[in-house]
């Protein structure tokens, strides 16, 4: 496959994974937890590197998932002992992220792991970072990771769709009928952590939040069905990746930056023009009510 094709495919895979997991974060009002996890996975990656002494993506995936789950766990712990949720998030993630930054500057100065890269990501170089797996042809590492994470995400959502849905809508009722609400919460947090770290190389820790939240937020304004919201959100993720890439190559600017910006633009357009929940249609119907 050509260089361009790889970037489009990798960006789209990240867009789909982020898009579908992001929907559940939005419905559970946990968008800020995504921000937190996207930072603390840095600590997981650094620790995985220090322990395994390699840049192997799978160790990093595991390390990051554990770090993400720990973040969710500590936030839950502080919150349930009476600290406000946003304050808990703020304290936990800045602390874990800071530890990650210190560890990088102490032990990992000379390797590929630098703070800039972790924060901003660079999809530009991703297609050249190849891996050979069995009899399959050489392929970019990022492609392998993102495909794997997408499959895992789809399996989890497929198996636990109704549990994810009811715990998002009405956790009390879910608990009353014996659904393990906390377990499902951590399952979702695990998905978010994996998705974040797999998208990390391509778009970086900060922009991944845009990919997690913006497509779902836009889809939320367009549909009244959860399944449609998931599909739309995945679609917006792909659209942003593709359009973002061409915008970036046209203006010769950062590809990941463009992908994330296009996500913002899509959201803004939907926010304005959604036929039912858009700003314009809302204003219009308010005027209509006034006239009547």
């Amino acid at each position: 496959m050509s260089y361009e094709m790889w970037i489009l495919v990798i960006g789209s895979l990240a867009g789909i994974s982020c898009g579908i997991t992001g929907c559940f974060l939005i419905l559970r009002k946990l968008s800020m937890l995504a921000d937190a996890i996207s930072h603390t996975v840095l600590l997981g990656i650094v620790l995985a590197f220090l322990i395994s002494q390699s840049m192997n993506g799978f160790y990093m995936l595991i390390g990051a998932t554990i770090a993400g789950l720990l973040t969710a766990f500590f936030v839950q712990l502080l919150h349930s002992s009476g600290i406000q949720e946003d304050a808990s998030i703020g304290v936990v993630f800045t602390f874990l992220f800071a530890v990650g930054v210190i560890l990088i500057s102490l032990f990992a100065k000379d390797v590929h792991l630098d703070v800039d890269h972790a924060l901003m990501g660079e999809i530009t170089f991703v297609p050249w970072d190849l891996v050979q797996l069995g009899i399959l042809p050489e392929m970019p590492k990022a492609f392998l990771m993102l495909s794997m994470v997408l499959v895992i995400n789809l399996i989890i959502i497929g198996l636990f769709y109704k549990e994810l849905k009811i715990t998002s809508f009405d956790p009390q009722m879910a608990a009353a009928i014996g659904i393990p609400v906390l377990l499902i919460h951590y399952l979702l947090m695990g998905m978010v952590s994996m998705t974040t770290v797999a998208s990390f190389d391509s778009v970086g820790a900060i922009l991944v939040v845009a990919m997690l939240i913006a497509p779902g937020a836009a889809a939320y304004l367009l549909t009244e069905k959860l399944s449609v919201m998931l599909l739309l959100s995945a679609g917006f993720g792909v659209l942003a990746a593709v359009v973002g890439y061409y915008v970036a190559s046209y203006f010769d600017v950062s590809i990941s930056g463009c992908m994330a910006s296009v996500n913002g633009v899509i959201f803004a357009l939907v926010f304005l023009f959604s036929p039912t929940k858009g700003l314009i249609s809302k204003n219009f119907s308010m005027k209509k009510i006034k006239i009547e």
Binding site: S81, K162, Q172, M173, A175, A176, I177, I179, K225, L226
Partner: protein
């Protein structure tokens, strides 16, 4: 046979007791009102019985056994305000959630579940709204959807948290008719209730709460002026109005 037995129940939030030493038993096939001022621990009582919040001490039994969700004998109607009605789903889908406990892991609700859900919607007079997005329903309609969801659970004991709050008179009547139907089928319904004026009309038994349990028993015996004074303390001006109601009956 007692459907619900609560013995020495105490619940605390961070060392502050919100329910202390609650003792009562509930007979089968009755409507029970849980009455008390704001902050009396009425919702807490229901949540503690359902195991949604931990209890500091005490014993809770439903049909003689410690309650386990998997027994599927309990239906629950949370406060309407406890969920986000902008959630992307429709009325039928919400009612179907009442079947999730019966469906089991890794499976989706089937045709039979959909039939039960539609039947439940019909019982609350909402079948025309099955495909309506839940945010487009009125408060009373949303409450009916919640009730239908509880019906779909096909339980023996129902716990309802303030089902009459913010609903129109027609819905209130419809809910009462439904509760009486459940009662006739031998089901037990516990309802957190605010309006003192309708207590005698609606409920066979009452539980009067204000952190401590003030009284519990058949309405004629327990719903007395004296007990109300104990329950509501110094809020006399408010009580005088309901005093009239109590003494008229």
């Amino acid at each position: 046979m007692h459907t619900v037995e609560v013995e020495n129940l105490t619940v605390a939030y961070q060392k502050k007791p919100v329910l202390t030493n609650v003792n009562f038993t509930v007979p089968e096939g009755k409507l029970i009102g849980i009455i008390g001022p704001n902050g009396a621990g009425k919702s807490t009582l229901i949540k503690a019985i359902l195991g949604l919040i931990p209890k500091a001490c005490g014993e809770i039994k439903i049909y003689g056994k410690t309650y386990r969700a998997k027994d599927k004998i309990v239906g629950y109607v949370p406060q309407r305000g406890s969920v986000d009605w902008d959630f992307p789903t429709n009325a039928l889908d919400v009612v179907l959630m009442g079947r999730y406990g019966h469906v089991g892991w890794f499976k989706r609700p089937g045709k039979r579940d959909t039939e039960i859900a539609l039947e439940s919607l019909r019982k609350v007079g909402m079948e025309e709204y099955a495909n309506r997005q839940i945010s487009q329903l009125s408060g009373g309609q949303q409450q009916r959807v919640f009730l239908a969801r509880a019906l779909a659970q096909d339980a023996l004991v129902y716990f309802m948290d303030e089902p009459f709050v913010g609903v129109d008179a027609a819905t209130e009547r419809a809910i009462i008719v439904l509760l009486n139907e459940l009662k006739e089928q031998g089901k037990t319904v516990l309802v957190v209730h605010h309006d003192l004026q309708t207590v005698r009309e609606y409920f066979d038994h009452v539980i009067l709460l204000n952190v401590n349990m003030i009284a519990a028993g058949p309405t004629e015996e327990a719903f007395t002026m004296e007990n109300l004074h104990h329950t509501y303390g110094g809020k006399l001006a408010f009580l005088n109005k309901s005093q009239v109601m109590v003494e008229q009956k």
